[in-house]
C-alpha cells in the first residue's frame, strides 16, 4: 500500500479513537484534560528535534530548527508540569477526606 494512504488510515482511526476515549468526562476534569492533552500536542517536538538535528548547512534551517525545539519544549515541559500541579490539588483533597 502507498505509505501515505497508510498514514491517512492511521489518522482517521486515531481521530475515532480520540472521540471514543474522551466522550464522557466529568466537568471537574475539563481543565486538567484540556491542559493534559495540550501537553500531548507538544509531540511536535519530535518534528522539531528532527528539524534541528538534521538541519543541514543552511542558517535558516538551523534557526527554524532551534526555534521549533524551544517552542515545543515550552509546550511539553510547561504543559505537563501545569497539569500535574492542578491534579495534585485534586488529590490532596481526596486524601484529606
Amino acid at each position: 500500500m502507498d505509505p501515505m494512504l497508510l498514514l491517512l488510515f492511521i489518522f482517521v482511526i486515531a481521530i475515532f479513537l480520540g472521540f471514543e476515549l474522551i466522550s464522557k468526562v466529568p466537568s471537574q476534569l475539563h481543565t486538567p484534560l484540556m491542559s493534559g492533552s495540550n501537553a500531548i500536542s507538544g509531540i511536535s517536538i519530535v518534528g522539531a528535534l528532527m528539524a534541528a538535528g538534521l538541519a543541514g548547512d543552511t542558517v535558516l534551517g538551523a534557526i527554524l530548527g532551534l526555534l521549533a525545539v524551544i517552542c515545543a519544549s515550552i509546550n511539553v515541559f510547561g504543559g505537563y508540569l501545569v497539569t500535574n500541579r492542578m491534579l495534585e490539588m485534586f488529590k490532596h483533597k481526596e486524601r484529606g477526606k
Binding site: L21, H30, N38, I45, L54, L67, H92
Partner: protein, 467 residues
C-alpha cells in the same frame, strides 16, 4: 529495515500506547494524576527515540531544549492557579508555533528538490496545512492569552467589513495554497509560502478578537483542538506516525470539549465564532429593567445565613478575580459547623476555561462531595434556603429561561432565583460579560451584597467567629 529504525518505530508505538492510556486515565478523577504521568513517560520515550536517528547533531537540540525546558518549567511552577486559563492558552500557542516551524523547516530543506525526490502530494499539502493551522493556533492563542490576562479588553472587537476582510484572507490562503501545491519548487511558490505564513498569522488574530471573554471556554477548547491538528499535519510532513496519532487524539479531545461548552451555552459553534456576542450591538436589544434592587449589609446577611439549613454557593468568574475561593471555603466550613448543608454548584461554562471553577475550588480544598453539577442542583434548588452567587452573572440569569428575546435565551442556567433566598455578591450593578441585563437582581427574594466578594465573605466569616 535497519535495527536502529526498528527500535525507533517500536518506541513510537509504545509512546502512542502510553498517550492513549494516559488520556483515558486523565478522564477519570481517581486515575488522572497517574494518567498525566504515563502520558509524560510516553513523551519522554518519543523524544529519546527521535534522538537515536542516524546523523543527528545535538548542539542545537540541547540548546533549544534547555531554553524551552527552563522557560516552560519556571512558568508552569510559578503561575498562580487563578492565571491558569491564560497559561494554558500560552502553552497551546507555543505548540502551534512549533508545528508551523516544523513545516517551514521541512520546506526549507526540501525546496528545489521536490520534483527530484518525488515528494508525495500529501506531504506538500500537509506542509501547507501545518504552517496554516500552526500559525492560526499561535496568534489565536496569543490573543486569547491577552484577553484572559486582561492585557487587552475582553469585549468582542468588531469592525466594519470584518467578514469581507476575513473572506479576502481566506481567498489569499487558498490561492497561495493552490500555487504552492501545484509546484513548490518555483521561486513564486516560495514567495507565496511566506505570504501564506504572514496572512495566516493575521487570520489567527482576526478570528479570535471578535469573541467575547465569556465565550473563552469555547475558544480555548477549539484552539487546543487546532494545536493537535497542526501537530498532525506536521506528522504528515515528516511522515511520522506518533505525531499523527497523538495529534489526532488531541484534535478529537479538543472538539469534544468544544461541543460540551457550546451545549452548555445552548449555542452553535458558528454562533460563538462569528456573532461577536456581547458586543454593544447585542446589548441594546434588551430593554431597561424594572423593579427595585434590595441591598443587604454583610451583618444582616449573617443573620439569614446563621438561620439557614441549606446553603448553595454558585461561583463565577468574579470569584477568580476577587481571589475569593479560600474565603468561600472557610465560610462554607463555618456554615457546616453551624449545622447547615453546604454545596457548591458549578455551571459548565462558569469562568474563562472549561472546569475553571472546579480548579479554583480544588485549590481552596473544597471537598469533592460538596461539588454538584448544574443538572443535579436544579431539581432540588427550591429546597435550598440560601443560594450565594459569587461573581457569577450570565450563568444564573433567569432571562435565559423567561425572555425569549434575550441574547442568552435558551442557555441552561442554575436556577438560583428558585431558592428561598438568593444573595448576589457583586461589585456594582454592571451587567456581565455578555452585556445582558440580569432580572435576577430585581427579584423579590434576591438581596444584593455590594462590594468586593472576598471582603464580603471575610466580613461574614468574622461575624460567625465573633459569636
Amino acid at each position: 529495515m535497519e535495527l536502529r529504525e526498528t527500535i525507533i518505530t517500536l518506541s513510537y508505538i509504545a509512546s502512542a500506547v502510553l498517550f492513549i492510556l494516559g488520556l483515558k486515565m486523565l478522564s477519570k478523577p481517581t486515575t488522572a494524576v497517574r494518567g498525566n504521568m504515563i502520558s509524560a513517560v510516553g513523551m519522554l520515550i518519543a523524544i529519546v527515540a527521535t534522538l537515536l536517528y542516524q546523523g543527528m547533531s545535538y548542539h542545537l537540540i540541547i540548546l533549544g531544549m534547555v531554553i524551552g525546558g527552563l522557560v516552560g518549567s519556571i512558568a508552569a511552577l510559578r503561575v498562580p492557579m487563578t492565571s491558569m486559563p491564560e497559561f494554558v492558552a500560552l502553552f497551546n500557542g507555543t505548540g502551534g508555533l512549533a508545528s508551523m516551524l516544523v513545516g517551514w523547516a521541512e520546506y526549507n530543506k526540501l525546496f528545489g528538490h521536490y520534483e527530484a525526490d518525488a515528494v508525495p502530494l500529501v506531504t506538500v499539502i500537509a506542509t501547507y496545512l501545518a504552517i496554516l493551522i500552526g500559525a492560526v493556533t499561535f496568534t489565536g492563542s496569543m490573543v486569547a492569552y491577552a484577553k484572559l490576562a486582561e492585557r487587552i479588553s475582553g469585549k468582542p472587537v468588531l469592525f466594519k467589513m470584518q467578514q469581507v476582510v476575513n473572506a479576502a484572507i481566506m481567498a489569499i490562503v487558498l490561492i497561495c495554497g493552490a500555487v504552492f501545491i501545484i509546484n513548490p519548487d518555483t521561486s513564486l511558490a516560495l514567495v507565496l509560502f511566506y505570504v501564506a505564513i504572514a496572512v495566516s498569522l493575521v487570520l489567527g488574530v482576526l478570528v479570535t478578537i471578535p469573541i467575547g471573554g465569556a465565550d473563552m471556554p469555547v475558544v480555548i477548547s477549539l484552539l487546543n483542538s487546532y494545536s493537535g491538528l497542526a501537530a498532525c499535519a506536521a506528522g504528515f510532513v515528516i511522515q511520522n506516525t506518533v505525531l499523527i496519532v497523538s495529534g489526532s487524539l488531541v484534535g478529537a479531545s479538543g472538539i469534544i470539549l468544544t461541543s460540551i461548552m457550546c451545549k452548555a451555552m445552548n449555542r452553535s459553534l458558528a454562533n460563538v465564532l462569528f456573532s461577536g456576542f456581547g458586543s454593544a450591538e447585542g446589548a441594546e436589544s434588551t430593554g431597561a429593567m424594572q423593579g427595585e434592587v434590595k441591598a443587604l449589609s454583610p451583618e444582616d446577611a449573617y443573620y439569614v445565613l446563621e438561620a439557614a439549613r441549606s446553603v448553595v454557593f454558585v461561583p463565577g468568574y468574579g470569584m477568580a478575580v476577587a481571589q475569593a475561593q479560600h474565603a468561600c471555603r472557610e465560610l462554607g466550613e463555618l456554615l457546616e459547623q453551624n449545622g447547615a448543608e453546604v454545596k457548591y454548584a458549578v455551571h459548565p461554562v462558569a469562568g474563562r476555561m472549561p472546569g475553571h471553577m472546579n480548579v479554583l475550588l480544588a485549590e481552596a480544598n473544597v471537598p469533592y462531595d460538596q461539588l454538584v453539577e448544574m443538572d443535579d442542583i436544579n431539581p432540588i434548588i427550591d429546597t435550598v434556603d440560601v443560594a450565594v452567587v459569587i461573581g457569577a452573572n450570565d450563568v444564573v440569569n433567569p432571562a435565559a429561561r423567561e425572555d425569549p428575546k434575550s441574547p442568552i435565551a435558551g442557555m441552561p442556567i442554575i436556577n438560583v432565583d428558585y431558592a428561598r433566598t438568593c444573595f448576589v455578591l457583586k461589585r456594582s450593578m454592571r451587567s456581565g460579560f455578555a452585556g445582558v441585563e440580569n432580572p435576577l437582581f430585581f427579584k423579590e427574594n434576591t438581596r444584593m451584597i455590594f462590594g468586593d466578594a472576598k471582603a464580603t465573605l471575610t466580613a461574614l466569616i468574622s461575624q460567625f467567629k465573633g459569636d
